[in-house]
Subunit: 387 residues, 4 copies
Amino acid sequence: MSSKKPLRVGLVGTGFMGRTHSNGYSQVSHFFPELAYTPVMQAVCSRNAEKVQAFADQWGYKSIETDWRALIARDDIDAVDICTPNDAHAEIAIAAAEAGKMVLCEKPLARTVAEAQKMVDAIEKAGVANTVWYNYRRLPAVSLAKQIVDSGKLGRIFHYRANFLQDWTISADLPQGGAGLWRMDAEAAGSGVTGDLLAHCIDTAMWINGAISDVSAVTETFVKERLHQVTGKVQPVGIDDACIFHCHFANGSLGLFESTRYARGHKALYTFEINGANASIRWDLHDLNRLEYFDHSDEGIVRGWRSIHVTDGDQPYMNKWWVPGLGIGYEHSFIHQVADFLQSLETGGPCHPTFRDALETQKVCEAVLDSASSRSWKDTGVTSFAV
Amino acid sequence: MSSKKPLRVGLVGTGFMGRTHSNGYSQVSHFFPELAYTPVMQAVCSRNAEKVQAFADQWGYKSIETDWRALIARDDIDAVDICTPNDAHAEIAIAAAEAGKMVLCEKPLARTVAEAQKMVDAIEKAGVANTVWYNYRRLPAVSLAKQIVDSGKLGRIFHYRANFLQDWTISADLPQGGAGLWRMDAEAAGSGVTGDLLAHCIDTAMWINGAISDVSAVTETFVKERLHQVTGKVQPVGIDDACIFHCHFANGSLGLFESTRYARGHKALYTFEINGANASIRWDLHDLNRLEYFDHSDEGIVRGWRSIHVTDGDQPYMNKWWVPGLGIGYEHSFIHQVADFLQSLETGGPCHPTFRDALETQKVCEAVLDSASSRSWKDTGVTSFAV
Amino acid sequence: MSSKKPLRVGLVGTGFMGRTHSNGYSQVSHFFPELAYTPVMQAVCSRNAEKVQAFADQWGYKSIETDWRALIARDDIDAVDICTPNDAHAEIAIAAAEAGKMVLCEKPLARTVAEAQKMVDAIEKAGVANTVWYNYRRLPAVSLAKQIVDSGKLGRIFHYRANFLQDWTISADLPQGGAGLWRMDAEAAGSGVTGDLLAHCIDTAMWINGAISDVSAVTETFVKERLHQVTGKVQPVGIDDACIFHCHFANGSLGLFESTRYARGHKALYTFEINGANASIRWDLHDLNRLEYFDHSDEGIVRGWRSIHVTDGDQPYMNKWWVPGLGIGYEHSFIHQVADFLQSLETGGPCHPTFRDALETQKVCEAVLDSASSRSWKDTGVTSFAV
Amino acid sequence: MSSKKPLRVGLVGTGFMGRTHSNGYSQVSHFFPELAYTPVMQAVCSRNAEKVQAFADQWGYKSIETDWRALIARDDIDAVDICTPNDAHAEIAIAAAEAGKMVLCEKPLARTVAEAQKMVDAIEKAGVANTVWYNYRRLPAVSLAKQIVDSGKLGRIFHYRANFLQDWTISADLPQGGAGLWRMDAEAAGSGVTGDLLAHCIDTAMWINGAISDVSAVTETFVKERLHQVTGKVQPVGIDDACIFHCHFANGSLGLFESTRYARGHKALYTFEINGANASIRWDLHDLNRLEYFDHSDEGIVRGWRSIHVTDGDQPYMNKWWVPGLGIGYEHSFIHQVADFLQSLETGGPCHPTFRDALETQKVCEAVLDSASSRSWKDTGVTSFAV
């Protein structure tokens, strides 16, 4: 391993995403030994010294910080990885870029397009490597979907639909805001399901099917007031509990998106389907190693949806893992993104989705929220999307 | 069988629906022997004498007519069943009602709300028994869904979503209009997928979840011109090839509906799902004997979506058929509707959906089309729905 | 319809199978109008005059008999259809054949090979048309499986496995014998699951994959004593509650069969799977309109089991029914068998499975029971099977 | 991490299993931070110095050996982990035990009962901690199945069935023996699918449902001769390509097991199902995060198989991973076994399956092969199984 070039990472945030990213850094060199770079888990940063030390011990970070500005100031950090709540993304990313650090940022990039635009400006001015963790792209079945669409098998696209259904906030007794629940707080999160869940769906959709041009949306907040953990008061809920929109893609196809945290029975049901003139594809996060594929060119009497168990060595990323039939998990999408980021350092190309790509997704999210509040169609301003 | 009261039926139309209805009349007394009434297949009417005679021979109709006015004029006809293209529904139904006949009409009731309103007025003025063939309600799994929701198991409803996806019109070489293809002709059909497919979804949705208050829709016509079979010319296509809308139900839940004939791989994928605070239900026409049900009150470690094979004697209609595990088919929904219509004659109550119920569905369809053309939300004017 | 030749049927037995056959006779001419023959429901026979009259009224039989010998003696009966408990099959079938009647007999053909052999001798001596109601062959998906295997798509066959799992006799309080429960009585039924359920699996298997040469079996009777409905006493249970066997087919492939009435959760789960060098097929009665098919010659990255919704017009029998996507039910297998029997009268060929075919199945069943009781392999004596 | 006690591991073998175990050692402390012990990847051993160094670099082993005897002789090794082909298990394990090392051994424990018995004798004489890598037990869904059965929810057990179907050896061009293909060589492997695949099924089955008492089996070798990679000659194939057996469990239930490498379309389809009087469970490795469960005590009209997505924090092992709905993979079963082994060091109890447990599984495997070759039932000699 001494022959590899180190990428010294400083992680900000030790929550759920802090764990998935740390796992990515830990695992990547075990499964992608050919890469020239290897991550070095140099430092992790969070406000509570005791907790961050425990996290560092658990994951093997060499040092800790309790102030992200101190982390950015260190010379022994090459890349800053941002896993904080959304309201801290912009400030940290901009400061890191200005300090010449590479920046990896959790999604959504920001709370608003305005914030996101500033981040892109700073990153591009600094010219630093960057990526945003829209991790689902890199599940093998999703990458395979992209590969199939790009191959032209589907022909002209007519429909794209996706949903992301959860049920964890149905209880009116669930508080909002504070530790573990910042996603319920509009100030910290920027929005509810739109930024948290639909942003994933939009990233995948535009990656696979191109730009979304205009949107017509509806949002709903089913539980109007909740106890806020920080203020200790029952306060109005500012986030969208559910969001539905239909849209046009630039290629003329129709899109349909839905997300909610009130779909009893669905833990994290992210599904998408794309229908072309010749073939269709669908996928479901609950069975993440499978891709369903229908090909109209199959002989008629034996034509049907194929359930592809995406675990063969010729399918995306799967030559890195086990043998056919043996599935991998959710966390592997992050390992793959680390691998692709390291690869991009070798080649000098971008690691999509970049900050700029994520800005486009942010534009769609904002158009969706604007459409819902104004009860009218909104143009997104997005005209193309990097693939 | 001599002890049963006859219901002498005159059928208008010998196409796909003419067959399903004829099967209903043929079969009902074999499986519902307790009914006081039995259908007598008195006459069938269609323009082509040779074809209608063959149809009569095949199905056992006692006589034929080639003019529906002659059929209505006959004294030996108690009920007129309308299976024509949509553009003939109103005229026949109104004439039949005025002649004092019971009227059974294929869905959608009419091409427009204005037509439908006239039909309801005529029917109600005549005071004749009536029903509209929104047959899917009476598939056992769908009826069971209704029964479960009515039992209160779901609690407060948050979401209802349905789609009806087909793929039979993707080829640009498919002509429009004329024999077998009147559904492609806006003049004959009134609309495309909205009246043909979404109308089914809307009927089921309002039956299960109550009135739809307002809608926001988008439609698309993917193939702009097609050869018209009757005129022999390539003409603009007037129908909607695809239609998506979201909506509010009167009970505060969000609705999401989609239909298309351009979803490659789906022959007739009518699915719906309803999410309540405590439980959820979903169904799929392609596996019509199954209902999926999730109950949050199940013990946590063994909680999951239940795949209910709706073939037991204590499930709707299934005590009439075979033994547990042995499924029935699509056509049985029509047999059930005949049975329920005969039952309603016995009890004197309505056989839902009545013409009035179907008018409400028509209002939603029209609001959907208006919303799509105006790119704005539309109120439906529907405030309640018979259950 | 006057131009059709009548086949005057006399039905013996008014139970579950009496209903499925009657439905077959009622429906066949509605959906197979091209056939030269049409069934005439001439008479139905059962011991209880009141009940058989009600059955005749319900199904449209023209007359009744309470003694099957009287039925056979009638000149106006062309074909005798036997739906009695198994212990009466031989006597009725032989008498009918000797009277020159065509004979249609429910499966299993008999309780023993000896009985079955006498029936075959009588039938062949009389030279009358005959068939045995192994109905599952004629579900479209099963017929399609046969068609695919015959086309050679699978290549060399390695494995065939089938099971038929039920759960309706688990309660020790269920009585044995008598009305509705003769299948629990070894004297009336001949055996338990072997003749009732495995016989179906064996018929399908040999039809698709050829003769079964030898077998090694185990049986179990989980509930050793039950109240007998007729004697009123708690008596030893004589039937096999469960039966498992493995076997060799004449083509060198391995077979595996299992049946039980103690598989909680399975109402009538008849499944089979066949694995060839190039392709595989599987099917499940609970989703009877689907066939799963795997073709190794599909391109690797998009290879997977196809879920074929067998409802297209180019799939077996389905040009007779509705439109793609709309499923049919269990009962349709009997309609198809009536159609094929009528067709065989036109062509003069046999309607498989004939009595002789069913004798071969009986040999396998008997070898299975012998193997279980002797705890040793048994040759079946079957060397070929009509396809 | 300094506060944890080290377990210094020496790994023998760098193939597929060498990777899965190394991953287990790498990952366990990231996800089970509460454990007192932590693995130290002290040394890895394989014959080829260059390859083993590359493996050590990739996985972070501190040193290498090319002779397993040298590894065992080292003082800085606490535990020897054996991932060699089966023919080396016994010699290494016995030597390691005699050297006072803890021993972790890949399954099957040995090629024969005689070998396995010697291993157990040595291990128990040495009194060293030990475990055998029947990893599938520790997939959360499988552990949940065990928990449910142990809770008594199923009631009296009637049936247990399992199969393990693959298709990777169908081509007659695949060589036998040598690198990557020792599983095809009877001398190296001991047997074919029986030891490789059925051993897994038997371990799970006896863990969940208790001892298997007697067996009746059939085996088949479909491709009789293959090129041997080592000898360079076309030689007879000595392994079983397929194996089927039925059996009695000590609790009176019937068992049915099948394994093959000739089931086209199945990559690694390990499934099992257990039927009790009150409830049933089934599982499928291809969808490893799901468990299906049927509970007859559910209300009749909404009763059905539940599809449990085993990703909640109250389900086995899942409080260590992500959030509900996000699945894990195959490899995690090994991480869990490492965790449980480390836990057993803390508590002083055994880590099942121990060598002794694996000996019982070996007895069943051997009885199966004996039964097949003698075409007769064989007692296994197993009377109980540790749970």
